[in-house]
């Protein structure tokens, strides 16, 4: 069996390092200009270069997302940026717009991957993009495994498939709700997730009304389909979620790394993997369009909230003799509190013994976004995750 690539999201350098530490073969990253994600979850060129250098040292890959649909003004802004990107040589561009694709072919030697935003659903689309120079297609999330096999049979091109994460309710790239309702361009990074809103449905014939989250798609989870996807010839297994936490990256990468390795070695996967995925924030899971056309079971009509069984508390930024672990906290931590340490080798219980701030003062408690050190936490690698089990909660979105 061919070994597929495990491709993780990286919203920033911390997540990129986390993804590589926990077993991802490649990451995809975006830039402030044109990456369909918000400012805080994107890379500067310099950070991209650092990420690409790290990947090259580790024998891994970094793909740069340029998957907005451009207007002419965007193409102009992209020119100098593409030239800079060519200098730092990421391992691929993920592009949906034919104009951007053609510009990238003209100005760079970076391989062209066609984004899922292009909604490629059949072998003819793949052949057309191949003619335009693409080496890989990220298939539309509506394509089933049987259809993937057929595409693979007909066209010699690498295929990438989403295996985990949030789902756009529409065919990707076929939604402009935010453009008209919030003056934010869905296809240039501005989606306001209107599909998660509550809608009142009115039957004009009889006046009946119903109120529901009519378009609120559940999250994709395909651990059980990994052997079939490998067998179908999928070259890259993609995880959604550049804006999600390092803990999400660590947990999802761990689960799919194990699923891939166990499928390749013909052994049973970790029985706990699905439970771990249930613990990270999710909207309820289903298998996307990979099994069959998604129907009512793919929508969470009742709530637009997330449920979670663990809370992310921060990541270890550095470890040294004098300070122990230095952590950028993402929650409240207290001395005496029992938490979990999630490292690439497993998940361990840990009780916080001593805590100090960056001025070396002893702390009983820290606040979110505070740098702290835990002097007695030493034998752990950088990018280890601190987390806390919580009673399963459902948080309604605002």
């Amino acid at each position: 069996m061919m070994r597929p690539e495990l491709l993780a999201p990286a919203g920033n350098l911390e997540k990129l390092e986390t993804a590589f530490s926990f077993g991802a073969d490649a990451v995809y990253i975006g830039n402030w200009i044109f990456g369909l994600r918000k400012f805080a979850d994107n890379f500067t060129l310099r950070q991209m270069e650092m990420g690409i250098n790290l990947a090259n040292r580790l024998g891994k890959k970094v793909y740069v997302v340029l998957n907005g649909f451009a207007h002419d003004e965007d193409l102009e802004a992209l020119r100098p940026y593409l030239i800079e990107l060519n200098r730092i040589q990421p391992h691929g561009f993920i592009i949906s717009d034919a104009g951007v694709a053609s510009l990238s072919q003209e100005l760079t030697t970076v391989p062209l991957h066609v984004s899922t935003q292009a909604s490629v659903t059949n072998a003819y689309d793949c052949a057309m993009w191949k003619e335009l120079g693409a080496t890989r297609i990220v298939l539309a999330r509506e394509v089933t495994i049987d259809q993937i096999r057929e595409i693979k049979r007909q066209v010699d091109i690498e295929l990438e498939v989403f295996v985990h994460g949030s789902m756009c309710a529409s065919y990707s790239g076929k939604c402009v709700i935010s453009n008209y309702t919030a003056a934010r361009d869905s296809n240039r990074g501005g989606c306001i997730q209107s599909c998660r809103h509550t809608y009142e449905l009115i039957n004009e014939e009889n006046g009946e009304t119903e109120t529901t989250h009519i378009m609120n798609a559940k999250d994709l989870m395909t651990l059980n389909l990994v052997p079939d996807l490998i067998d179908a010839g999928v070259e890259s297994f993609k995880i959604e979620g550049r804006m999600k936490s390092p803990m999400y990256v660590a947990s999802v990468v761990t689960a799919y790394r194990d699923a891939i390795e166990s499928a390749l070695e013909n052994r049973s996967p970790d029985a706990n993997a699905e439970t771990e995925l249930e613990k990270i924030s999710n909207r309820g899971y289903f298998t996307g369009g990979l099994d069959d056309r998604p129907a009512g079971e793919s929508i969470n009509y009742a709530t637009n909230g997330h449920s979670a069984g663990v809370k992310y508390l921060g990541s270890i930024k550095s470890v040294n003799e004098q300070m122990g672990s230095v952590i950028l906290s993402r929650g409240i931590l207290s001395v005496g509190e029992e938490i979990e340490i999630q490292s690439p080798t497993g998940i361990y219980a840990y009780t916080i013994g001593e805590m100090r701030d960056m001025a070396g003062r002893s702390l009983e408690k820290c606040v979110p976004s505070q740098m702290i050190c835990l002097p007695d936490l030493r034998n752990v690698p950088e990018n280890t995750i601190l987390r806390k089990p919580i009673v399963e909660v459902v948080t309604e979105n605002a």
């Binding site: 402030w32 200009i33 310099r46 649909f69 451009a70 207007h71 002419d72 965007d74 193409l75 717009d97 034919a98 104009g99 292009a118 909604s119 059949n122 003819y124 689309d125 793949c126 052949a127 057309m128 509506e142 394509v143 259809q147 309710a169 076929k174 939604c175 402009v176 453009n179 008209y180 309702t181 003056a183 934010r184 361009d185 240039r188 501005g190 809103h197 509550t198 809608y199 449905l201 009115i202 009519i214 378009m215 798609a217 056309r293 998604p294 129907a295 009512g296 930024k317 040294n320 004098q322 300070m323 230095v326 950028l328 701030d357 960056m358 001025a359 070396g360 976004s369 505070q370 740098m371």
Partner: protein
């Protein structure tokens, strides 16, 4: 002179459209025309298209005809699409509209003389993309997100190989999932509802669902009747009045309005004035407000993108503040190395910018530094205005 164009899926549509002034009909069959409101699913083949084509030519021998195959094609659609193309070929229809660009390869195999129009609904909004697709497509549909200035610049004033929607409902989302039938399994193959987004009360979005999926339309209809001189100056080849899902009166009134306005403008461009009755007639047959949408201006995200561009373009980005201990330290995650002293400007997410000098630097373990060297995290003296996530820029351009 633009050709008034509309969709037709029934004999009534064909008759009404031609009588009201349509010069080009886009024929539809619901099996492959996804936003078609006629119920063609039980008919195995495409005899209806032959019938409609014959009827149209009988009424108007000069009528132009094309056929709409705007389904996002999965494998199982291909035999049906093949059947449709073959039927059209025998019916003398050799122009096809597609949304899924790859279908050009299939259609050209089946019907080498076919001419193709690309109507992607979204994502074909720049001249580079138009250029690429012109390899396969003789015509393309201009996106509803394009402004008239963009269109003029992109086409250099000659958009004869383009189509534009001048009137009708605006599709804002297309999903493969059938949300409504999933919600109430008893609902039939097609259903329609009005949906009010409770975060934007008062806006009513038409929902339509059929075997192809779910379609969400905007709470107002596109209407460019007030901009006839501007539209005419763009030299767009076809003006599309989209009345799918609307009444025959809507179809007739809208086509007549554009036909008359165009005629009057051409008779006397300098004297032309749109009569208020035209607007009230259009309003009387529709259910939603009439607006120009993005045709006049499209400012989506312009401020946000401008701010990002400023940050992106700067070569002065030093790093981000990750921790602040008031009166003592700030901790910085550095992207570039710095030396002391360094004049910097801080952009706080909470307020205005602050300029100050970094006069001291320390490692996390409090060793003083003259240069940050390879340290990713450094500490410096507390600075008023600093909060976590503030961005630090050097005041001079860095190498």
């Amino acid at each position: 002179m633009p050709k008034l164009t509309t969709y037709a899926a029934s004999a009534e549509d064909v008759k009404t459209a031609i009588e009201a002034g349509a010069k080009h009909l886009i024929l539809e069959d619901a099996k492959v025309s996804i936003r078609c409101y006629s119920d063609d699913y039980k008919e195995l083949h495409f005899e209806k298209v032959t019938y409609l084509a014959n009827l149209a030519r009988e009424i108007s021998p000069s009528i132009e005809l094309s056929f709409n195959i705007d389904v996002m094609a999965h494998d199982y659609h291909l035999p049906t699409i093949t059947d449709a193309v073959n039927t059209c070929r025998y019916a003398g229809i050799s122009e096809f509209r597609v949304q899924d660009p790859g279908l050009a390869l299939l259609i050209k195999t089946l019907h080498p003389e076919a001419t193709l129009t690309l109507a992607t609904e979204t994502g074909n909004n720049n001249s580079g993309s138009h250029r690429v697709f012109s390899r396969w497509f003789a015509r393309q549909m201009l996106g509803n997100e394009l402004t008239h200035t963009e269109i003029a610049a992109m086409t250099q004033g000659n958009a004869s190989t383009f189509d534009i929607q001048v009137h009708g409902p605006i599709l804002i989302q297309y999903s493969y999932r059938r949300y409504m039938s999933g919600f109430r399994t008893s609902r039939g193959e097609t259903s329609r509802r009005l949906a009010q987004d409770l975060e934007y009360p008062g806006r009513y979005f038409p929902f339509f669902e059929n075997p192809h999926g779910h379609f969400m339309y905007l709470f107002f209809d596109r209407c460019l009747i007030k901009y006839i001189p501007l539209l005419t100056s763009l030299n767009i080849g076809r003006w599309i009045v989209d009345a799918r899902g609307e009444s025959l009166a809507y179809l007739k009134t809208a086509l007549q309005a554009y036909k008359n306005a165009l005629h009057e403008f051409e008779q006397s461009p300098t004297q032309y004035e749109l009569s208020p009755k035209t607007i009230s007639d259009l309003e009387s047959v529709g259910k939603r407000a009439l607006k120009a949408g993005f045709f006049l201006a499209n400012k989506t995200d312009s401020e946000r993108r401008l701010a990002l561009k400023i940050l992106q373009d700067t070569s002065q980005y030093l790093g981000t503040i990750v921790d602040v201990i008031r009166g003592k330290w700030i901790t910085i995650e550095l992207e570039r190395s710095i030396s002391v002293p360094s004049p910097v400007t801080l952009f706080s997410p909470e307020g205005p910018q602050v300029s100050f000098n970094i006069d001291s630097l320390f490692t996390l373990t409090d060793e003083p530094l003259a240069h940050s060297s390879h340290n990713r995290y450094v500490k410096t003296a507390w600075q008023k205005g600093a909060v976590p996530k503030s961005v630090l820029l050097a005041q001079e351009t860095l190498d």
